[in-house]
Amino acid sequence: MIQSHLTRGWPPAIAATQGRTERPAELPGDAPLAVRGLTVSYGEKPAVFSLDATFPAASMSAIIGPNGAGKSTLLKAAIGVIPRLSGEVYVFAQPLEKARARIAYVPQRASVDWDFPTTVMDVVQMGLYRKVGLLGRLSGAMNARAQDCLDRVGMADFAHRQIGQLSGGQQQRVFLARALAQDAHLFLLDEPFAGVDAATERAIIDVLKILKAEGKAVVAVHHDLSTVRDYFDHVFLINVRRIAEGPVATTFTTENLQATYGGRLAATHLDELSMASGAR
């Protein structure tokens, strides 16, 4: 049973020779984000193993997989938030450290203490800390920029609220505004739609689509399979190892999902997806 899933669902040849895939890892070009041979391990159990991934410019990419498949791990390791055991990361064809200023990261909302003594405006200004430096003052232009970013996510009226008074969706928008303030070219979001209301989801997706239209790359860990086709152009399917990656139209298929989720993806869910995709 399991065997049949494997043989049917793993399009790229994965036959491992000396820990590397058979397929020669092509150079990443100047893709906004590319990882080669990335392995991250908690203890002695790999959370992700020997991943090759390339995320294209001017598009929205989703990282998709079941719980514990290493989605967030991939994102965090790619930007050095957690250490990697092996592998390389290229951001716009540069090593990670040289391209820091071009990356904006939106962590999971639940990863911080929202009772921290800080206001909405303070949080957005954190996105400007690198530009301000240690001794600099936040100039009028920078404050205006922060205010503008709040405006873009529909939170302009909340600038002076304490962050603990926000709803989950509002918190998520503030995090997005902070990332916008960085003026980055690559946006990495960890479950931006988890536990937010419908209005927030709409507001966030609108902002992300504008970023895409501006030629920026958006990569998001995503949970909701039913919205993948509406929101994203590119998918990366992961379950510890890479299952498939490519344009949504050709890669987000029932076969690949079955291979990613195994038995955990209910047949009914798959039916819904195929119906959503039209004639399939």
Partner: protein
């Protein structure tokens, strides 16, 4: 009382004045540089660092005596305590990063082991023939008896440096304390910033050892920051308020203890700080206990008034005694639950808003009224007057209420 006032205005003699000023300065430094330890949720870390100074004191004494010097030379003892605190600090950091032990376990282990070693060394020192060891116990609970001008100078210079570094590094430290993943993604070296926070705490501990003692210094590092949190929602202000609270506690505590012969300075300072904390806990606006109780009561009344009026509108009997009392007190209903004229009018308005909400929810099914349709949020806050007029148009003319 008179003695206290004398001490308060630095009129109780040279030594008392020196102690009061020194304690005030130390309080400021400890309060502000302890802020980020508290915000990073590592308050107990300071306690471990403080306890880890003790072996250094003992070893420094033994070394200095065996080299033929004065075992009580302050620079030597401070250097020794700083060194052993630094080792303890690195050890905690290493244990929690490299082993499966959690940070609290690492803190407990290092605190206990270092304190144990320190006590053993102090006992050895007591039995050494090369005497003049008297006074080393003062490092445990602090002593002001022999405070010298140079001690005050050490506190003033060291404390100012600690405050200065805290202020200069406030942005990276805020970022790491609030959201360390984001800080790492921006390229900040989180580990180094953590070490800096701990080093600040260590520095203040070392300069405060002689005055407050290593057992109670943690109180001066943490209580002011916790207290300050009650009064502000901005981390940058927590730094200064904590400094002020610490300074006030240090100065007042020292003056208090100088006003009577048998009051130990360190513990009195800590008790004064704790007093300020308790007052803040109870009476601070917004975050204080009293404010929270009042807010909760008001909210409860709002809920009951609303539910009572809804029941009046629907002509349901009101069974909850509190609701009845509330409505009666506000002149909305008689004690037996029959609505007054005002009550009838308000119930009608609420019933109408409920019907407006029904229409609104039908129209805006997909637009996420989540969190707004909660029974309490006035519809005027969510929709514009024009939108509400549109709901009313769909509803038709008002219906008379109460079957009249």
């Amino acid at each position: 009382m008179n003695a206290f006032l004398q001490a308060l205005f630095l009129q109780a003699g040279y030594n008392a004045a020196l102690v009061a000023i020194g304690a005030g300065l130390l309080g400021f430094a400890a309060g502000s540089s302890g802020t980020f330890m508290f915000l990073r949720k590592r308050a107990l870390f300071s306690d471990a660092v403080a306890h880890a100074t003790l072996p250094g004191v003992g070893i420094a004494f033994i070394l200095m005596v065996s080299l033929g010097g004065d075992g009580r030379s302050l620079p030597g003892l401070l250097a020794g305590s700083a060194l052993s605190a630094w080792i303890g600090l690195l050890l905690i950091e290493w244990i929690s990063r490299r082993t499966r032990l959690a940070e609290d376990a690492a803190i407990g282990a290092v605190l206990g082991v270092f304190f144990g070693i320190g006590i053993v060394l102090l006992t050895v020192v007591q039995s050494m023939s090369a005497g003049r060891q008297a006074g080393l116990e003062g490092f445990l609970l602090g002593s002001t008896a022999g405070m010298l001008f140079q001690d005050a100078v050490v506190i003033a210079i060291g404390g100012s440096l600690a405050v200065l570094v805290t202020w200069l590094m406030r942005r990276p430290m805020t970022l790491v304390a609030f959201d360390s993943d984001y800080a790492a993604a921006m390229g900040y070296n989180v580990r180094r910033i953590d070490l800096l926070m701990m080093s600040l705490v260590m520095a203040v501990t070392v300069i405060g050892l002689k005055l407050v003692g290593l057992i109670l210094i943690v109180a001066m590092l943490i209580i002011p920051a916790v207290t300050a949190r009650f009064w502000t929602e901005r981390s940058s202000r927590v730094i200064w308020i904590a400094g002020a609270v610490g300074a006030a506690a240090g100065y007042l505590g020292a003056a208090l203890s100088a006003s009577a012969p048998a009051l130990p300075t360190g513990p009195i300072i800590v008790l004064v700080a704790a007093g300020i904390f308790v007052v803040s806990l109870l009476f601070a606006p917004v975050r204080g206990v009293l404010a929270a109780v009042i807010r909760h009561r008001r909210f409860q009344a709002r809920v009951h008034r609303r539910q009572g009026l809804l029941a009046l509108a629907a002509q349901h009997p009101i069974r909850e005694a509190y609701t009845l009392r509330l409505l009666a007190r506000e002149g909305l209903a008689r004690p037996d639950g029959v609505p007054t004229e005002t009550g009838r009018a308000q119930a009608a308005k609420i019933a109408r808003d409920e019907r407006r909400w029904d229409v609104a929810r039908e129209i805006h099914q997909d637009a996420g009224l989540t969190g707004r349709y909660d029974g309490l949020t006035p519809i005027e806050e969510v929709f514009t007057a024009d939108e509400i007029a549109e709901f009313d148009r769909r509803l038709g003319p008002p219906v008379a209420l109460g079957g009249a």
